[in-house]
Each structure stands twice: as structure tokens, then as C-alpha cells.
């Protein structure tokens, strides 16, 4: 029969294999085909030796689990802990829903002639550059003129909330990492995983955990995806602070807290701000994907363009995202440049 049957026989497992007849897994297509055509695979040459994978071994010994049982088992395990997990996670993450809903409500219900000047004022405050204020004004007015204002504001509201929370959580994590080598060793693989996991993969377990109608679902997905750079660069920034300056701080008798607030954070600020810039750009990337799970904004239009093959809608909303990306990037880079100019060592 199958290639590895003799191996099982040699190990004296023939009874075990036969006993548990593999009846619990439904037959696969390949098995059905094999059954119909009869056992023609009497002896395979060495050339055709299959890799001893789960499925190949299953063929030789029906008691052996198949590979699809692995994925199935994972699914079952997740579904089993799901209820207790969401019992804990639901209340913890509830404020995220409130923040997102609140921000969306405020952005959409404040009249445009208040929102746009306020945005201009914020841009001027952080960049002190009239040129950038002009760029942002032109971009938003253009989006408003082609009736994409509401969508753009939804996207912006989500990005503001998520990026803010990323900084709020990411900077302390980065500081803790900079202080403890052990924590750094533990967290770096986690950060690597978060960064390399395809963004769609985040969404799958989240859909099981939370209801699709809740805004925290996409909020969590965006935060998980976008928090990585700010954590990494905070850690790096604090570790890169000039050793002599730290020594001077010690020599003048600074406490740990004084050292953190008076020396380490200010000196790491250019790196932290570079992380914030990356975090904002990554939340923008994720907010588009998150529209698959009901995140409002320009992503919905992109999705509509794909689903209904509305080429124009897809292209224009894509352009809208590019415009948002450009203004967010320019504004954060300009404020970063201001910090750098203040302290080039």
C-alpha cells in the first residue's frame, strides 16, 4: 500500500494504525479518487518517495493525524478560549470604541468652517510654516470640493485616535525596553512578528473576538500594526543618548526620574518623532485595509471601487489617500525638523 506502511509495521504499530481507523476525519478528495482507481501504487521507486509529511504518513497509517487537523485544532483551541478571552478583552478595549466613535462624531458633526480653520491652526502650531498651512488648506479644500470631505475627515479622525494611542502606549513601552535588556530581548521578536505579519491576518482573530459592528475591532488592528515603529525608535533613541551626557547627569546627582525627563526623553525626541511619523503613515495604510471590517473613511470608497468595478471612484479615493498621506507626512516631518534644528549636537 502506501510508502511508509512498512515503517509503521516495523515499529510494531500495525494494530494501533488499524484500530483507530481514521474514521473521525472525513475523506479527502484524493482518498476518494484513490479508492475509485484501486490500489495501483504497489511499490514506489526511490525517486517518487514522498516527504514524510502528516498527510503521507496518514496514508500509511490511518490513525496518524492529517495536516488539516492541525489547522482545525488551532481553530478549535481559539474558539474554546475565545469566550473567556473576549470577557477580559471586551471591557479593557471598550474605551477605544468610545474614543473612535467620539472622534468620528465630533469630526462629522462639527461644521466644515470650524474644522478646517482648526486643522490649519494645529498645522501652524506644530510646523510654524505658512507654506505647509497653505498646502494642507489647498488639499482639504480640494477634497471638500469634490465631495470627499466627510470620508477624508472620518479617515483623519481614526488616524488621530489610533496614532495618539500608539504614542501613549508605545513611548512607555519603548522606555521600559531601553531600561531592561531582558525586556528588549523578549519584545523584539514580538515587534518583528507584528511588523511582518500580513495586515489581513490581524483581522481574522479579531473578527472572532469582537463584533464587526464595534469600532474597536479596526482600532485594535490599526494600533497593533502601527505601534511598532514608535516602540522601536523610542527604545533606540534612549539607548543612543550620549553616554557622556548620562554620566554628567549622574555626576551632578540627578535622580532616575530627572534623568528620564531632563535628559533622556529630550535627547531621544528626534528619534521618537521619527517613530511617530512612521506610526502615522502605517495607521493610514492600515485604515484602508480595516475598511474590510467596517472602518469608515476613504477606504470604504476604495473597496467600493474594487467590488463594483467603479474605476473612477477607486482612483479618486486612492488619490485622496495619497493627499492625506502627503500632508500628514509633511506636517510631522516639519515638526521633526524643528526639533532637530533646536538640538543638533
Amino acid at each position: 500500500m502506501a510508502t511508509y506502511q512498512s515503517a509503521f509495521n516495523a515499529l510494531g504499530l500495525k494494530d494501533w494504525c488499524a484500530g483507530d481507523g481514521g474514521g473521525n476525519a472525513p475523506m479527502s478528495m484524493a482518498q476518494l479518487l484513490a479508492k475509485n482507481s484501486g490500489d495501483k501504487v504497489a511499490d514506489t521507486s526511490l525517486w517518487d518517495l514522498p516527504f514524510p509529511s502528516l498527510d503521507a504518513l496518514h496514508k500509511a497509517c490511518p490513525a496518524w493525524p492529517q495536516s488539516r487537523e492541525l489547522t482545525k485544532g488551532l481553530e478549535h483551541a481559539f474558539l474554546n478560549v475565545k469566550d473567556s478571552l473576549s470577557l477580559v478583552l471586551d471591557p479593557i478595549t471598550q474605551p477605544l470604541s468610545w474614543c473612535l466613535d467620539g472622534a468620528l462624531y465630533v469630526m462629522q458633526n462639527t461644521p466644515w468652517w470650524i474644522v478646517i480653520p482648526v486643522l490649519m491652526a494645529v498645522v501652524f502650531l506644530v510646523t510654524k510654516s505658512w507654506k505647509l498651512v497653505g498646502l494642507v488648506a489647498a488639499s482639504i479644500l480640494l477634497l471638500a470640493f469634490i465631495d470627499y470631505y466627510t470620508y477624508a475627515m472620518q479617515t483623519l479622525a481614526i488616524i488621530f485616535v489610533c496614532a495618539f494611542l500608539c504614542v501613549l502606549l508605545g513611548v512607555p513601552i519603548g522606555i521600559a525596553m531601553a531600561r531592561s535588556d531582558l525586556l528588549q530581548r523578549l519584545l523584539i521578536p514580538v515587534l518583528d512578528m507584528l511588523q511582518t505579519l500580513p495586515p489581513f491576518v490581524y483581522l481574522i482573530p479579531l473578527i472572532f473576538l469582537f463584533s464587526v459592528t464595534e469600532s474597536k475591532l479596526y482600532g485594535i488592528a490599526i494600533i497593533l500594526y502601527a505601534i511598532v515603529p514608535v516602540v522601536r525608535l523610542t527604545n533606540l533613541g534612549i539607548r543612543l543618548v550620549d553616554k557622556e551626557v548620562i554620566e554628567a547627569a549622574d555626576a551632578f546627582g540627578m535622580t532616575e526620574r530627572q534623568k528620564l525627563y531632563k535628559v533622556q526623553i529630550p535627547l531621544a525626541l528626534p528619534n521618537i518623532m521619527a517613530g511617530v511619523n512612521q506610526t502615522i503613515m502605517m495607521s493610514l495604510a492600515m485604515v484602508v485595509i480595516a475598511s474590510l471590517v467596517s472602518a469608515p473613511g476613504l477606504g470604504v470608497l476604495v473597496l467600493k471601487g474594487i467590488r463594483n468595478l467603479e474605476l473612477g471612484v477607486g482612483l479618486v479615493s486612492g488619490l485622496g489617500i495619497v493627499i492625506l498621506a502627503v500632508i500628514l507626512d509633511r506636517v510631522t516631518k516639519a515638526s521633526l525638523a524643528r526639533i532637530n534644528a533646536a538640538q543638533k549636537a
Binding site: 554620566e247 554628567a248 549622574d250 555626576a251 551632578f252 535622580t255 529630550p266 535627547l267 538640538q343
Partner: protein, 352 residues
């Protein structure tokens, strides 16, 4: 003046490595630096250091790179913990201090000046100068007057609102010195403070330090690898080699009586006439009349100025004064003898 030393270092050992305690036993049994590294994987930083640092003096610790001088100075305020030994400041054991006492010591007793200045790049010159006060919780307006005073004193009037990166290296180190002065601590630790500056600026800064010291009488510990700098500044000179003190004492005395071939090598290249002073080579008065002398010399004059004054005439004898008192006489022949390099002087003697 010879009362209690301000800082006393006793039997200080520092060994870097995974098990310094074990390595310490080997060192005490006489294992050398090279063997310790090769056979036991530990680096001998400092070995049995005993130094008295006296109040109001500039103690210069000199050695080449790797001799342990920067390690030694960091033991004084415990930026580095010793493996064994004692550091006493004002007769208090610094190593027994808890964290709060240590912080208090660093805040009020000692200030430090660094080779690479180590200023805060995001603070103005004024705020940097007042760093010690800021650490103690004082607001800018509380320390502004003191900071401005010392900044003016080190020659930075008008630069108060600039940032460190807008200043040249020499000016940045002036901020570093002002920072140490504003802290008003009796002890100043200077870790190769002038080594990163170019020679002309360095000489200016040395003059500034001597000028300040004449006025303030602080206890200064100065680290350098530059013998000329050491001889110019030192009241007490400690020479380190491979983590050990090879010789310490009055720099003039070391120059005239080097106790080790290492030091002979060291002093071979210096301009003896510029470094040696009249008081080191003069002898006691032998009661000549005032008319026998070619003139009066200050005991602190260096030999170069005496040579210039004599015009190279070796027959002259000068009278040496300190203030209004006559303290000795200097014959030009003695002066010439003092200028003979040490290794050249010993070589013919061996041949005899």
C-alpha cells in the same frame, strides 16, 4: 596645610570581569596585568592606589590611555564601584554611602568637567551652567544671577541664550567649567577637560583654570595624558601606569628625581627650562653680600626667563626672593646642570 586630606584613597583596587572578587585574590598574590587578562580573563583597572588629595590644591593624575586614570577619577564620586579599598571625603567613607547620601555628595560636594563637554544640547548656555541648581530643584530665576556671574567670569558674557552647538569647542568647555563653578562644590573633578581642545585654546583654558584656582582655592583633581599640562597645573602629581601609581609628589621633584625608567622616558621630550622653576634648583644662601648678586629672581620664575635675563652668562649668581624675603641663591652653573636631561646625565656615569 598638611592636616587631613580632603580626599583620601586607600588600597583601591578595581578589576573588570565576571568575578572580580576571585581575580582580586590573584592580584594580591602578585599576578600581573597581562597574566590576569590571559589566564583569568579579567582586566586589572587599578591596583593598590593610595593617594591623598589635599584641600585647595590641584592634584593632577597623569598617565597614558589605558593607565586607569579615568577609572580612578570616577571612583571619587562612585560613578564606578571599586572592587576593594576605601575612598574617604572629609573623612567620611564614600563607599558606605547609601543612594541618597551619594546623590547629596554629587550634588553639593563634587562637580565634574568632562572631556567631551557633555552639555545638554536642548538647553541654553545659561540653563546648562545652572544644571547643578536645576537638579536641586531651583528655578531658572533663582540661579540666573549665579549662572550669569560665572559665565561672565569664564568669558562667556552675552552667550547666555545661545545653544551649545552654536559655540566653539573652547567656549563649550568654558560652559562646562561654569557649570561646575555654579554648583559651588568644594571639589572639582576634571576628566581630560582640555584634551579635546586645540593647543592654543588649551593653553588659554589652563591659564583660566590657574587664575580661578588662585581666587577660589578649590580642591581640584585633574586628569590628563599631557605632561606639559600636568606640570603646568599640578601642585601634586600622580603618575599612573597600567593601573598602578609609579610615582607621586611635587612635580618639580619628580622631574629632577624620576623614580622609574618609565618616567624618564616620559620627561625626555619636555622643555625643562620652561617647566623647572627657580625654587627647585636654587640653594640656601651662603651669606654673600648684596653686591655679589646679578639681581633678584622670584622663586616662581621658570628657568627659561632666567636664561633670557642672564643672556647665557653662566658666571652670574642671582638672589631668589619670595615676596620681600630672601629665600636662596641661584648660580647659573646650577641652572645649567638642572637642564641636563636625566637619561643623558646617567649615561656617562655608567661608563665610568
Amino acid at each position: 596645610m598638611t592636616a587631613e586630606p580632603k580626599i583620601a584613597i586607600r588600597n583601591l583596587y578595581k578589576i573588570f570581569g565576571p568575578e572580580p572578587e576571585v581575580a582580586l585574590e590573584y592580584v594580591k598574590r602578585g599576578v600581573g596585568k597581562a597574566d590576569l587578562l590571559e589566564k583569568h580573563g579579567h582586566v586589572l583597572g587599578l591596583k593598590d592606589i593610595n593617594v591623598d588629595i589635599r584641600h585647595g590644591e590641584i592634584t593632577v593624575i597623569m598617565g597614558l590611555s589605558g593607565s586607569g586614570k579615568s577609572t580612578l577619577i570616577r571612583h571619587l564620586n562612585r560613578l564606578i564601584e571599586p572592587t576593594a579599598g576605601e575612598v574617604r571625603v572629609d573623612d567620611q567613607d564614600v563607599l558606605a554611602f547609601n543612594e541618597d547620601q551619594l546623590r547629596e555628595l554629587r550634588r553639593t560636594q563634587m562637580s565634574m568637567v568632562f572631556q567631551k563637554f557633555a552639555l545638554l544640547p536642548h538647553r541654553t548656555v545659561l540653563e546648562n551652567a545652572g544644571m547643578a541648581m536645576d537638579v536641586r530643584g531651583k528655578r531658572v530665576r533663582e540661579f540666573e544671577a549665579a549662572a550669569r556671574k560665572w559665565l561672565t567670569r569664564v568669558g562667556l558674557e552675552g552667550n547666555e541664550n545661545q545653544y551649545p552647538h552654536q559655540l566653539s569647542g573652547g567656549m563649550q568647555q568654558r560652559v562646562g567649567i561654569a557649570r561646575a563653578l555654579v554648583s559651588n562644590s568644594p571639589i572639582m573633578l576634571m576628566d581630560e577637560a582640555f584634551s579635546a581642545l586645540d593647543p592654543l585654546i588649551r593653553s588659554d583654558m589652563q591659564d583660566l583654570l590657574l587664575e580661578l584656582q588662585a581666587e577660589l582655592k578649590k580642591t581640584i583633581v585633574f586628569i590628563t595624558h599631557d605632561l606639559d599640562e600636568a606640570l603646568k597645573l599640578a601642585d601634586h602629581l600622580v603618575i599612573l601606569k597600567d593601573g598602578e601609581v609609579v610615582q607621586q609628589g611635587d612635580p618639580q621633584h619628580i622631574l629632577l628625581n624620576p623614580g622609574d625608567p618609565y618616567i624618564v622616558d616620559f620627561i625626555a621630550d619636555i622643555n625643562r627650562a620652561r617647566v623647572l622653576r627657580v625654587r627647585s634648583v636654587m640653594r640656601k644662601m651662603n651669606g654673600g653680600a648684596a653686591g655679589d648678586y646679578a639681581g633678584d629672581l622670584n622663586e616662581r620664575d621658570n628657568l627659561e626667563s632666567v636664561l633670557a635675563r642672564s643672556g647665557g652668562d653662566t658666571r652670574l649668581v642671582y638672589r631668589v626672593v619670595r615676596g620681600d624675603d630672601t629665600v636662596g641663591e641661584l648660580a647659573m652653573t646650577d641652572l645649567t646642570r638642572a637642564l641636563v636631561p636625566t637619561n643623558a646625565a646617567s649615561a656617562p656615569a655608567e661608563r665610568l
